[in-house]
Symmetry: C2
Subunit: 114 residues, 2 copies
DNA sequence: TGCATACATGCGTCATCATGCAAACGTAGT
DNA sequence: ACTACGTTTGCATGATGACGCATGTATGCA
């Protein structure tokens, strides 16, 4: 089979290859924010998270918004403070599903055409 | 604990959050190339893979090179043809490790400070 | 009402990047 | 040596994105 003819022969890998998710995670500052938030283990405000990295508050705010839109973080507002948290379950599910889908695509020993 | 004070309290998540990997996967054309290659289930040449997407050969060549440098694909040359293949094991390991690290960061019920 | 806090948004700037074209490179066959 | 083929690379261009600053919006407090 030619590559461009390959359709749905090994699971829903196309649905799991989410460009927006990877794009959100493909930036050092955003990655650092995620790391700080995960290691902190509790919801944090924008101001708190801004201390993690050496960029302006406004930049942090934008990064957090992008991470939320891409499904990495969740946001909850309390008064005038916005708390962001890691969507642990969503992320672990996404990466485990992706790992499984990739594994499924891998040709096993004895996978040969007649 | 403040976010910027969080260090190594929940596993080597920083080592697993590879910005280069995510950046490589955060582009639709590259994602399509990976998808085609995975679904095809065998090493493919640049020319073959170029039929997957509507961009120039040179663009495909550059994308494949980047995917290789970021650890997504492997390359092997046979004569004047270069065959790319998915690094199945490496990718599944990376995503599974990441899922586990994120899961470990998640606060369990009863995780409270004294 | 007035003011401070916490965050979001508009805008300009600079860097990065995806793309196509042309040319170069290496290899195989005649 | 010449030619054809597969791939890579140099270059210009247009688009996207990260950043800082200033401003706007919403909330809490006196």
């Amino acid at each position: 089979m030619k590559p461009h003819e390959a359709s749905q022969c090994c699971g829903p890998i196309d649905d799991l290859l989410d460009a927006e998710l990877f794009k959100a995670l493909g930036e050092p500052t955003r990655l650092k924010l995620l790391s700080c938030l995960a290691k902190c283990g509790r919801p944090c405000s924008v101001t708190e998270l801004a201390e993690c990295c050496d960029v302006d508050y406004s930049v942090v705010s934008r990064h957090l918004g992008m991470l939320e839109r891409s499904g990495v973080l969740s946001a909850s507002k309390e008064g005038r403070t916005v708390f962001y948290n890691v969507r642990y379950q969503h992320l672990t599910d996404a990466f485990r599903s992706l790992a499984k889908a990739i594994e499924t695509c891998r040709p096993k020993c004895g996978t040969k055409k007649p």
